[in-house]
Amino acid sequence: MNQIMLNEVQIDEIRKLAEEKRRSLGFVGETPIANDIFTILDKLDIMLLEYPIEPEGDRPAFSAAIMYSEESNKKLTFIGLNTADYYDKQIFAIAHELYHYYTKSGSHLSRPEYEKNNLIEVKANRFAAEFLLPETVLESIVLDEFKTSSLEKIQHKTLLRFIARLHCTWWLPYRSLVRRLHEIGTISSEQYAELYVVDERNPRGEYGKISQAINKEVFLKLNQPTKNIGTSPNKIEVIIRNFEDNLIDEDKFAETLSLFNKTPDEFGYEIKVSQDDLDELDAFFSEEDDDEN
């Protein structure tokens, strides 16, 4: 199936939206968002739920999901993030979900394959790229560096080094950067095709070696799944309040917290059973066991 292409008007709308949102969040000009994407979620009062979900067979796992719920007339927004994905893709996925948040395009579960053929998803991907690295900034960087807006005559290795520097500064996935350079007409279709098939995650590959020479720490960070299990402090508070209000029992409390690698103990709720009670239960049930035998 052919991929959907955005027209100039649609691209312009997305560019303006991304610029406006970046500015309102305090990111002006050549300021990378990178890791600050998580702070942005806090600022927007969006609760983040992190959990690693591996793909099942050839069905790609979701990247991120945005959900809304309403409680006592207060609208709650959650982003579920699949932390089994590479870290730079996690950042991109959050930026993608922010498009749905800003445009109120509804509850949404993003799967990589589905997105290429759906207009809203193509727009959300374009927004994510624009939000993380604005087109005007990218054009300006290219011009500053090469003194020309066209890189068609630039050799492959030079392009790889350039992309590696962009990658480690702006934290946009390698392939998104390649796509951005093609979208703004800086590289040719042949260069795009050649760059797109590079084994970009392999630390021993050409691109991996170049990137590590530039910034090993960041390259390795961006190319690893974090597998984090966690949630916003607000969400943990909801779980604790549910327990305090006797809406869930201790077993469910401990079980739910364990999903986020937390224990009741950490919040001052130690689950204790007296030795006398344990002995009493043991004596009774052991007797029953003997009867059965």
Partner: protein
């Protein structure tokens, strides 16, 4: 789970008066409770059968489960137990099947199911396993006008008890909790009193927190006596 002894439960009163009424069971009434995370001891199925299931089946001749609850039992001992009860003549348990719903009942069931599902982890669109049994059971019995649902899960109980506040459509369904049937069995000499006391302790009065919110066995039984105006001394240990 917190025990509520502030008001008598009309469902238990009705069951005390006529134990032959149909009671639909949630899966946690048929599967041994497992608090081994806390106690390092679980209850084996044979033990559970002897102290709980056999007395329950001898006390109530019209028990039922929904087919989705039966599905939850696949591959575990409880399934064989239910199969024997189901195939006995006359059957000692029946399985509610959605295929028995008329077209109008199905529409009504879907409406109730969507209302309940939004308050649980079950999503009818993907038909996941989480909370599936309780959602399917409750919507079925609500549509069929069946009254009693016996459960140990706090969420299922709240769907019934807060039906008006949460608009779940379960206004006519009544919940019967495990501790109420522990009391019933004990009071009617239908189960070992020591076993009932131990089951009560295991489920409701084990941790320091539970001891701070729930009554001891002695207080529980005397409070239940007062609530249901039963004053003999069969619960003294």
């Amino acid at each position: 789970m917190k025990i509520n002894l502030t008001h008598p439960n009309p469902a238990l009163i009705s069951i005390i008066e006529n134990p032959k009424q149909m009671i639909t069971l949630d899966a946690n009434f048929l599967i041994p409770p497992d608090r081994s995370r806390i106690t390092k001891r679980s209850i084996g199925f044979e033990q559970f059968k002897k102290i709980w299931l056999d007395p329950i089946f001898s006390a109530f001749p019209n028990l039922a489960i929904h087919e989705s609850v039966y599905d939850e039992l696949v591959g575990i001992s409880a399934q064989k137990y239910v199969d024997v009860k189901r195939n006995s003549k006359p059957p000692e348990i029946i399985v509610h099947k959605d295929s028995s719903l008329t077209e109008i009942e199905r529409i009504l069931r879907d409406t109730i199911e969507s209302k309940i599902a939004s308050l649980t982890k079950y999503d009818p669109m993907i038909d996941n396993k989480d909370d599936r049994g309780e959602v399917k059971s409750l919507s079925f019995i609500a549509v069929k006008g069946l009254l009693y649902f016996a459960a140990h899960d706090n969420n299922a109980i709240q769907l019934i008890e807060k039906s008006e506040e949460w608009s779940t459509g379960l206004d006519n369904v009544q919940a019967i909790k495990m501790y109420e049937l522990i009391y019933y069995l004990c009071k009617n000499n239908l189960g070992s009193k020591t076993a009932m006391k131990m089951l009560y302790k295991y489920q409701y009065y084990l941790t320091n927190h539970e001891k701070s919110i729930n009554p001891s066995w002695g207080d529980f039984s005397s409070n239940m006596d007062s609530l249901y105006e039963l004053n003999d001394t069969t619960l003294n240990f």
